[in-house]
Amino acid sequence: MEKPQTDPMATVEGLSGKASAALGRRVFMRYIGATAAAGVALSACHSELVDPAVTGSGRAGDAIDLGDIGSNDVNVLNYAYALEQLEAAFYTQAAMMPYSGITDAERKILTDIRDHEIVHRELFKAALGSAAIPGLTPNFSSINFNSRASVLGTARVFENIGVSAYNGAGQYIRTPDYLVLAGKIVSVEARHAAIIATLLEPMGTAFAGDNVIFPSTGLEEIRNPEEVLSLVKPYVQEILNGRNGRR
């Protein structure tokens, strides 16, 4: 059965051509000293409104290679770290620049989610230590932060991608504790996805719609890393590469 295409990012062009070019000139980034130092500063000076990850320690145009996502836990964690960075940066900006007509309830939801995503991001950063990829520089130029439809629509896309990415990557994880940790996070992302969707479409089934849950099995969609990275690519200034696990 064909899924209804309600996901505006589903039409984004695949990575294929650009990815292989990027792989040819890929740069392995292991910011051992720099990232660790940045991490300390980041933890020490984190405040409600100034989120250091928005500036990032990576640079636009840099290639960041996540490697074969299935080959070891560091790669899976960095994959999750990349997605959490993007989400945290998005909600930080959305909370800083509330859209026109935002209600108190909506503002609370967006700031709650922002904090959840920041906590997720910082946890992965801490867990990865010197193996962490650099801070990403978001590209949110396609988002109108003054528009409710644009902000919540993008939030919905990010949450759906996040859930499908975690669901697809769970089986790559080798360390039981990390699998449990991913499980603790993915269900919170799914809660976000449901609430954001219900803000957009309060009266229907959008919270767990047929566009993301296969109606015949009741299973949520899964995406492999290459699909996920091609979907998030327009939102990141660095060139984020990674390959599907071949476990």
Binding site: D115, A127, I222
Partner: protein
């Protein structure tokens, strides 16, 4: 109800059975199930794959039967709620119908996967011996129980993830159910006027056991409350859903199970 039976049954975890499964066959199942089209194709594909490879593995079957028992409970709860005249208001109908559709699909999927090894549907008592006597006449009681079952379901699946690591295809399916339960949970909580996520171990009028441990702030060995003093500690607890063991879940679900019918 014989809770001890189900506990004993479920605890027969045979790690060796998993080890016996040949690596290459696991790998090919994993690859075919990873494809969305196959995962969406219906219960039959999943069942076929499962029956062939996991027939000998008692521990995977046990986990799936545990999941099936919880899905039976949820499906029957929503079916009965929808059938109760005038109970669910129009506004909540689409939520209940969608959730019921998913829970019934989960039952069908797990049943067909398990084949003859599937446990029969228990006889449920949604009043839990009278404690929730108005479950099908008072909509707030009904929402509260829906909330209880969904949040428990999320924690139950999460608690089994590591038991499925040797069976990546099954693990993926379990994760795909797990996130759907979380979506349901969020929506029902929202319907009740609560945040979609679990704040601390706040039980919101439900049995405290459902939220036991949800106030945890230490993840991956890092005390996040200490590490990030500028972030409200409540947000830290919300950011992670905690697992429950089978014993904890069965203690919660037990009062609603009148007979296992085995």
């Amino acid at each position: 109800m014989n809770l001890q039976n189900i506990l004993t049954e479920i605890e027969k975890v045979d790690g060796d059975a998993l080890g016996r499964i040949e690596h290459m066959s696991r790998r090919s199942i994993f690859q075919s199930l990873l494809k969305k089209t196959v995962a969406g194709a219906g219960a039959a594909a999943f069942a076929g794959v499962l029956n062939k490879t996991y027939a000998q593995s008692s521990s995977v079957a046990d986990v799936l039967n545990y999941a099936l028992t919880l899905e039976y409970l949820e499906a029957e709860f929503y079916n009965m709620s929808l059938a109760a005249p005038g109970l669910i208001p129009m506004a909540a109908m689409p939520y209940y119908q969608q959730i019921a559709k998913h829970e019934n699909a989960h039952v069908a999927l797990l049943k067909s996967a398990l084949g003859s090894a599937a446990v029969p549907k228990p006889t449920f008592d949604f009043t839990a011996g009278g404690a929730f006597g108005t479950v099908f006449t008072n909509v707030q009681t009904n929402y509260a129980l829906a909330n209880a079952f969904e949040d428990t379901g999320v924690r139950a699946y999460k608690g089994q993830a590591t038991n499925l690591m040797s069976a990546p295809a099954i693990l993926t399916v379990a994760l795909q159910i797990h996130s759907v339960e979380a979506r349901h949970a969020a929506q029902i909580r929202y319907l009740r006027g609560y945040p979609g996520w679990i704040v601390n171990a706040q039980e919101n009028g439900l049995p405290q056991a459902i939220y036991s441990g949800e106030d945890n702030v230490t993840q991956g060995g890092v005390n996040l409350a200490a590490a990030f003093p500028n972030i409200n500690q409540l947000r830290i607890t919300e950011a992670f859903d905690e697992p429950l063991t089978m014993q904890q879940v069965l203690a919660i679900a037990g009062p609603f199970i009148k007979s296992l019918n085995r």
